[in-house]
């Protein structure tokens, strides 16, 4: 017999879930307004074919992102890899490059007659366009979605379990498979889910790389004919896809007991000595950092050196934009991490139909293109809370519900590793549930909270369509500045705001890796 969730937590979960389904509710309202047209748009053989293409890309990118993140996460947390903290930061930062800028950078570097082709002096390179290019670029920009929570989970693993396994004569690889991997499944599943949702809802990268994915159908339905019913119907298809991916992801999360059983403080794990394996390990990290970080940043620096000469964005203005970006993103990160904590606590501590429903609901905003989230908030805000319309408060709220699931996964994974017995002990000592939650559970899950907040922060920094529509008038961010610079295709001029975006994002990313390394 399971205990029911305390009322205050259930209420908090309900509020968060209700906020998160606003965009989906908006889609339903629009679709219900013209059901016939919606059905005829959504249910065609064309839709089916494009969904299949999109899912193929999604599967390829998700598998690749996990394959990149798993070794880097393990190497930078659990081994004596030289410069592991630096590698961790460098390998996380690609997440903050907006995908439409990132794709453009890759085309400039690897595309026809691009920088690499010029440098090599060859007649042609394999095409960057189509499935292959979209696979490469999206994998390189999404693997940090797995890496960030994975590093958090690796730090929380109790080394005693591994020690015990090794003492019983298991070889390192067998220890990894039988002891470490089972504890990583929850974060790999939730991180993989985020990658796959990112891929199905991305538009910027796939359109530049000329891969016809499902979001392009939405774009054609909505931007060309201004037909919001068709766009909403296709958005509803995205929600259905998301539900399928959620089910798949929850299947992958094994129900094993993965929190530590022993009492006492977590001992910092002894790093594995890589020995001569150090060199291939370094080579792998360097390769990923080179392609995912150094290459796009190198192109940006090259453009910036030309852009500064022609005076693109003055530094004073750029600093103000950076302040706006930071403020809004930090607000969304704080609000989002708090909201996700409620959802995750319910899902982990009081699993049941209600908790599962709330958790799935919290993902709705992430599966949709930003413009649909923005239009949903325009719809509700002008009707229900007109004074909040086009305020920073509404913008922060919009970014929060758009990116909420980014924090749910890491926080849930952290809570899974906190033994409920510690909480029970605190309860036994006479503390109330809220008190225990505040003083025991939350601090123990700190790594997950920080990872979740950082993920929301990094995404909010680069968000564009919702920011353009929901921000107070005249409120500009680094992302909106990049947009104004790139509309006419002068990507060189966007180099400085794009580099600033990276610089501002580097702060939380660095702190995250620093803190985690110092206090596991």
């Amino acid at each position: 017999m399971r205990r029911p969730a305390p009322a205050w937590l259930a209420l908090a979960g309900l509020l968060v879930a209700a906020a998160a389904v606003l965009p989906a509710a908006y889609l339903l309202i629009v679709v219900a307004g013209d059901l016939g047209e919606a059905l005829s748009t959504a249910l065609t053989s064309r839709t089916a074919a494009i969904v299949a293409r999109t899912l193929a890309l999604t599967a390829a990118v998700t598998a690749t992102a996990v394959a990149i993140a798993l070794p880097i996460g393990w190497l930078t947390v659990r081994t004596d890899l030289p410069g592991r903290r630096l590698w961790a930061v460098l390998c996380t930062l690609p997440l903050v490059i907006p995908s439409y800028v990132g794709a453009y950078l890759f085309i400039a570097a690897l595309g026809p007659n691009g920088m690499l082709q010029e440098a090599l002096g060859v007649a042609g390179l394999p095409s960057i366009y189509g499935f292959g290019g979209a696979w490469l670029v999206l994998s390189l920009f999404t693997y940090p979605l797995v890496l960030i929570p994975l590093r958090g989970a690796l730090r929380r693993i109790d080394p005693q379990l591994e020690d015990a396994a090794r003492a019983m004569g298991r070889r390192p690889l067998a220890v990894f498979r039988s002891v470490v991997m089972p504890q990583l499944w929850p974060v790999l599943a939730s991180g993989g889910l985020l990658v796959s949702l990112y891929v199905v809802s991305d538009f910027g990268a796939v359109s530049l790389l000329r891969f016809d994915s499902f979001t392009r159908e939405i774009y054609i339905a909505y931007r060309s004919s201004f037909d919001r019913t068709a766009a909403a119907a296709l958005g509803a298809v995205l929600i259905v896809l998301m539900l399928g991916l959620l089910l798949l992801s929850s299947r992958l999360r094994t129900a094993k007991v993965v929190h530590r059983l022993g009492p006492g403080t977590l001992r910092p794990p002894r790093p594995y000595r890589l020995g001569r394996w150090r060199w291939p390990a370094l080579a792998f990290c360097a390769l990923v950092a080179l392609v995912a970080f150094a290459l796009p940043v190198g192109v940006l620096l090259y453009w910036a050196s030309e852009g500064v000469a022609s005076g693109a964005t003055p530094w004073s203005r750029a600093a103000a934009l950076a302040g706006n970006s930071f403020g809004v993103s930090a607000g969304a990160a704080l609000l989002g991490a708090s909201a996700a904590l409620a959802i995750a606590a319910l899902a982990v501590r009081y699993p049941g139909r209600l908790a599962r429903l709330f958790e799935r609901a919290s993902h709705a905003g992430y599966a949709l293109p930003g413009i649909l989230v923005a239009l949903a908030l325009v719809f509700f805000a002008t009707r229900v809370v007109p004074p909040l319309y086009q305020t920073t408060a509404l913008l922060v709220f919009g970014l929060t519900i758009h990116y909420l699931p980014l924090a749910v996964g890491p926080i849930a994974a952290a809570l899974v590793q906190v033994s409920p017995r510690i909480e029970e002990a605190a309860r036994g000592l006479g503390r109330g549930r809220a008190e225990v939650f505040r003083t025991v559970t939350a601090p123990l899950a700190r790594g997950g909270l920080l990872a979740g907040a950082a993920l929301i922060f990094l995404h909010a920094m680069k968000e564009l369509p919702a920011t353009l529509i929901l921000a107070p008038i005249g409120f500009e961010t680094l992302a909106t500045d990049i947009w104004t610079q790139t509309t006419f295709g002068f990507y060189e001029a966007s180099a400085i705001p794009a580099l600033l975006l990276l610089a501002v994002a580097a702060v939380p990313v660095y702190l995250l890796s620093e803190r985690g390394a110092a206090r596991p």
Partner: protein
């Protein structure tokens, strides 16, 4: 710091941040309302929703502000996104004026009954074919559909008389177009009106069969020509003009106005006044100012667009006079026509 003290600090930070946000929200709220909508009489000026970026309209807005001693608050975003936003806002819209990059978007807003009729003296600043037959919006500037080409690989004399000729074997795998962009779709809509669906479908199918490469927009086609990836592409003339202004006269992409077929069709940027505005006289004054000499001069000199006002003089660099560039006319951008165009393009495998 022990864990509970730490979490207390964290909670304090959260509360402080929340308070700051609310405060900031209220502060920004006041400023955003000053544009109109709620209509406080103590503030002056209008709110403009602009589908065109600051660089494309800044000079015109600044000039109006200085001359009229009025404030213009501008929300910049993608034209289609703003059109959808206006439709969702309905009567509650804070916008007074909508300035759209494409006529289809303002048509959608007009069809939703959200635009007020413009006075005749404003409409008559432009020839009839550059304004809404029902008088709800007016064209401000024009961009011509042209064939852009690689000046290193192609001589203008080799180029076909019209885009119909781009299906020849000479251009196999060398043509870029952007079937998903509104400008290409408007062009195809005009083709259908002139040549009928059958002829248009044949052309679309022949383009696909000839290996026309689909790009997401005009800019990427231009850049692909500049990079030597393709030799020619169907784009709007001013994207090349802007790149030339940025990169200098050695820019490798040239512009060719095809004389045959539809010629180089004129696509309009348009402006209209919102029915929900409670500052209509001022909003109309702003739209009028867009069609007066200083603003028209800004558009034509900065981005090399065609000025549509009868009073304005095109930039000397525009070698083809406005009168020789055909326009689709207001009735051609009807939304059901656009829908039929998209279906035709999908059937032909172009989209």
């Amino acid at each position: 710091m022990n864990p509970s003290a730490q979490i207390r600090t964290a909670l304090l930070v959260v509360v402080a941040a929340a308070l700051l946000l609310v405060a900031a929200g209220c502060g920004f709220d006041a400023s955003s309302d000053s544009g109109g909508g709620a209509g406080e009489p103590e503030t002056e000026g209008i709110t403009l929703y602009s589908g065109r970026i600051p660089a494309a309209i800044g000079g015109a807005v600044d000039g109006y502000e200085a001359r009229a001693d009025r404030d213009v608050q501008v929300r910049y975003a993608d034209t289609a996104d703003l059109a959808a936003t206006l439709v969702e806002e309905g009567d509650a819209s804070p916008a007074d004026v909508f300035f759209a990059q494409e006529p289809g978007a303002i048509g959608a807003v007009a069809d939703a009954g959200l635009l007020a009729a413009l006075p005749a003296d404003v409409l008559e600043l432009v020839p009839p074919r550059y304004r809404d037959p029902q008088g709800r919006w007016v064209g401000v500037t024009g961009r011509a559909r042209v064939i852009a080409y690689d000046r290193g690989a192609v001589r203008p004399a080799q180029l076909p008389r019209s885009p119909f000729g781009l299906t020849a074997a000479r251009w196999r795998d060398e043509v870029g177009w952007s079937p998903a962009s509104s400008s290409m779709q408007e062009y195809v809509t005009a083709l259908r009106a002139r040549y009928g669906d059958e002829r248009t479908r044949e052309w679309l199918e022949a383009m696909v069969a000839n290996g026309a490469e689909a790009f997401p927009n005009n800019v990427t086609i231009r850049d692909a020509i500049a990079a030597g990836e393709i030799e020619v592409g169907l784009i709007n003339h001013y994207y090349v003009a802007q790149a030339v202004a940025e990169a200098g006269p050695d820019y490798p992409v040239g512009v060719y106005f095809p004389p045959g077929g539809l010629g180089s069709l004129m696509l309009l940027t348009t402006a209209g006044v919102l029915e929900a505005s409670d500052r209509k006289p001022e909003a109309v004054a702003f739209v009028r100012s867009l069609l007066q000499r200083p603003s028209q001069g800004f558009f034509t000199s900065s981005s090399k667009e065609y000025p549509l006002s009868r009073a304005a003089v095109p930039d000397p660099s525009l070698s083809v006079p406005l009168a020789r560039v055909p326009s689709p006319g207001g009735d051609l951008i009807a939304l059901d026509e656009l829908q039929a165009t998209i279906e035709l393009m999908q059937e032909a495998g172009a989209l």
